[in-house]
């Protein structure tokens, strides 16, 4: 699935940086019904993780009340050059990954 990641490409050591992520997902709540009364089964992302050079720096649990195409933003301290890895896990075995690199000077 398509994902949009916004991580600064360069940062100073010790600088606080913002990471913004947006991913494609319908986030079907499991509470809605079709026109003929059948329940639409729940299909949501349940967990999001961000790793910075292998170490987990941010994790979030997601719930049915979160809108489609979840947007998450958070902050971290730029310690060293390397890679951010993002992972979204959800219902029906859903899994999606993305990554972004940063140069710390």
């Amino acid at each position: 699935m398509a994902a949009l990641i916004n991580v600064p490409s360069k940062a100073k050591r010790g600088e606080i940086i913002e990471i913004r992520t947006l991913t494609s997902h319908i986030m079907e709540t499991g509470f809605r019904h079709t026109a003929d009364g059948k329940l639409v089964p729940r299909d949501i992302i349940t967990s999001f993780t961000c790793r910075y050079n292998g170490a987990e720096i941010f994790r979030a649990d997601l719930f049915p009340a979160i809108a489609a195409n979840p947007y998450l933003s958070f902050f971290t301290v730029a310690k060293e050059s390397g890679k951010f890895e993002f992972e979204w896990i959800g219902d029906n075995g859903y899994s999606s990954t993305a990554s972004a690199s940063i140069i710390v000077e």
Binding site: L4, I5, N6, L22, I26, M27, A68, N69, Y71
Partner: protein, 259 residues
Amino acid sequence: MKSWRAIAVAALTATVPALLAGEIPPEARRSGYSFMGPDTRAMQDDDTSNPGVLFVLDGQALWGKKTGSAEKSCADCHGDARSSMKGAAARYPAFDKALGRPVTLDQRINLCRGNHQQATPLPYESRDLLALSAFVAHQSRGVPITAGDDPQVKPFIEQGRDLFMQREGQLNLACANCHDDNFDKRLAGAPITQGQPTGYPLYRLEWQTLGSLERRLRSCMTGVRAQAYDYGSPELVALELYLMSRGRGLPIETPAVRP
């Protein structure tokens, strides 16, 4: 005195023959963007926070994917969309010679699928069709709308204008009652816009997905308690064409974000 007034009215109408009473003059035309709050504007302006861009990326993938029994992709004929599709969305709906009527961008994509890719048409409002039309329209971002300049579509614009001015539904409202006569006012707390079709297909936060101009028109019709026209019906295409000619000169924003 009366004759003076008649002359004054005649002189006024003679200078602006193309505009009916209440229609918005070109210099006063404003995109729905200008009616939004700063948060929603910021969301549209930043391509990493605009959820419509997710669909554009999907469309980009579909553009290069071979499909149908002809085993051809869009790119096999049209090449690089950045040059071949630039300005295309600003010209649609456009006249199709074989059909003898105007077709929307969505219909053009499905005609291409049928005629050149030997593939089944994509259903209206399906993710793939929205993604493809968002990708194509995105190539025209910033290009001013020119749809309706073709003389062959003039009768269809007239039909669309009549539909726009015609009262309908249990609330007995025409499109013009809100979008020509009362824009900048509020309807239940939400700003009434001019209804300019600059950003379609666009991401509505209310829909939580991308949607076409036809979906927007159909929701308005349901809103005034009228029976909405079917997707792809000649009436919706005519309305779409009139709206595009009414927004002439405004730049395309696809994918726009709206509340």
